[in-house]
């Protein structure tokens, strides 16, 4: 059972639709007890980092998520991925969950449009459990103005958008995608399928 964490922000239903389509059992939850009981966790998120972190704090789930992150596979999507890192400087310096070393800052891509929106091809930095079956050149759907800055050892897939854009990050069994696997067609579903199979 995959728990999709509901803290008031994020496109929960798109993720749920994709998991349902893949016949991966899932539940949208805002209960600490359920978060402890499920087998895997997904942290979605859209919008601005400070608002989302505040909403997460207000939900009272932060501590439980950090505790459970080491025990079961976890996947942050888009802003949910950025929240896995130490802090962000979107508008103001705000602390994140600190599960993966690194920070979040604005994309610097001179001459290119911001947000980075659309289908970008990825390259492989490191293989990880979620990247199985995904190759250089596969395209994923991105929509974001901020990126993660982290050491390459935590990057599995990245996009080159006039800037180094980590697309899939990992540390132990904690994963994050900057792109939206639930909107990236078949290859995105493949990644979610990989996640659903993790123990």
């Amino acid at each position: 059972m995959i728990g999709i964490i509901d803290y008031g922000a994020g496109n929960l239903f798109s993720v749920k639709n994709a998991l349902d389509f893949l016949e991966l059992k899932n539940i949208i939850t805002s209960s600490a007890e359920e978060i402890r009981n499920v087998d895997q966790l997904i942290l979605p998120g859209v919008g601005a980092f400070p608002d989302a972190m505040r909403m997460l704090e207000r939900s009272g789930l932060t501590e439980t998520i950090v505790e459970e992150a080491g025990k079961k596979p976890m996947l942050g999507i888009c802003l949910g991925m950025q929240m896995l890192f130490e802090y962000s400087n979107e508008f103001e310096i705000v602390k994140g969950l600190g599960l993966i070393p690194g920070e979040v800052s604005r994309i610097t891509a001179p001459g290119l449009k911001i947000p980075h929106m659309g289908w970008s091809d990825v390259k492989v930095e490191n293989e990880c459990q979620l990247s199985a079956g995904i190759e250089k050149g596969h395209r994923f759907y991105f929509v974001h103005s901020y990126k993660v800055v982290t050491e390459k050892q935590y990057v599995s897939l990245y996009a080159d958008y006039g800037d180094y854009i980590p697309g899939l990050v990992f540390k132990d069994n904690i994963f994050g995608t900057q792109f939206h696997p639930e909107k990236s067609g078949e290859i995105g579903l493949k990644l979610l399928q990989n996640f659903g199979g993790l123990k």
Binding site: F13, S14, N17, A18, D20, F21, V46, G47, K113, I114, P115, H116, M117, G118, W119, S120, D121, R139, Y141, V143, D160, Y161, E182, K183, S184, G185, E186, G188, L189
Partner: protein
């Protein structure tokens, strides 16, 4: 590098696709959900539903169409037609749309752009502009299917829309639309030159080379087409293969 997007558009009325469909293997001809699934299989990068329903009951049907599509198609979904308020955005986004396009309501009340952008994010606000040449190098914004000239200048309006928070411009040429003679490259270039948000080209494509020509001669990010795909003259994948052969970046299946 970002792929140039190919976006099929489906006109929907009371929950049914309006124009004829020649898809092979579709169970219920005219069901927008089945058509969207087919386009997804062909490699559509995004799907647009244009709701041309006039009645209130029909609007509810559209929400159902969107929600059923979102359960079966996993590429971005845009819905337009008859959007009047930011709450209309909310309903469609909750039903499963990723973006909502607004046309005449934004002309009547430009604040709808900023309100929707601040509530739901710029990325989901698409401003649709129907432009028509009124003098040399001069394009005006038209409404009511090209019948009414608003007097607004297309280039000025596109800039204004971006400033108000639009995440994307869907630019339809009322001169080229239906002609199958190719996209209106001049109007596209005029708009692409002044905005820093993605521009979707619409209207006029009748053959493969029109797509290549448009992407080679303008900086538009995407092409939207309806009838050429509806009637099975071309598949989305054929268009992408053609673009790819001409060294344009596309998402191939």
């Amino acid at each position: 590098m970002l792929a140039k997007r190919i976006i099929p558009c489906l006109d929907v009325q009371d929950g049914k696709v309006v124009k004829g469909i020649n898809f092979i293997g579709i169970k219920e001809v005219g069901d927008p959900v089945e058509c969207a699934i087919e386009y997804d299989k062909q490699g559509a990068d995004e799907i647009v539903f244009l709701d041309i329903t006039a009645t209130h009951e029909g609007r509810g049907t559209m929400l159902d169409v969107v929600s059923r599509t979102a359960k079966n198609v996993f590429v971005p979904l845009t819905v337009g037609g008859g959007i009047r308020t930011a709450d209309d955005f909310r309903e469609l986004l909750l039903a499963g749309a990723d973006k909502v396009s607004v046309n005449s309501a934004a002309i009547r009340n430009p604040a709808i752009i900023s309100e929707a952008a601040s509530r739901f994010g710029n990325q989901c606000v698409v401003v649709a502009i129907d432009g028509k040449k009124t003098a040399p190098d001069k394009y005006n914004v038209f409404v009511n299917g090209g019948r009414i000239d608003t007097g607004l200048d297309v280039v000025q309006w596109a800039m204004e829309a971006e400033k108000l928070g639009a995440g994307e411009i869907l630019l339809t040429s009322m001169d080229a639309d239906g002609t199958k003679q190719g996209f209106d490259l001049d109007m596209l270039n005029a708009v692409c030159a002044v905005v820093n948000i993605p521009v979707i080209a619409s209207g006029g494509c009748g053959q493969l080379t029109h797509f290549t020509e448009m992407f080679q001669k303008t900086s538009a990010d995407a092409a939207l087409a309806a009838s050429i795909f509806h009637y099975g003259e071309l598949t989305v994948n054929q268009v992408k293969l053609e673009l790819s052969q001409n060294s344009l970046p596309v998402r191939l299946l």
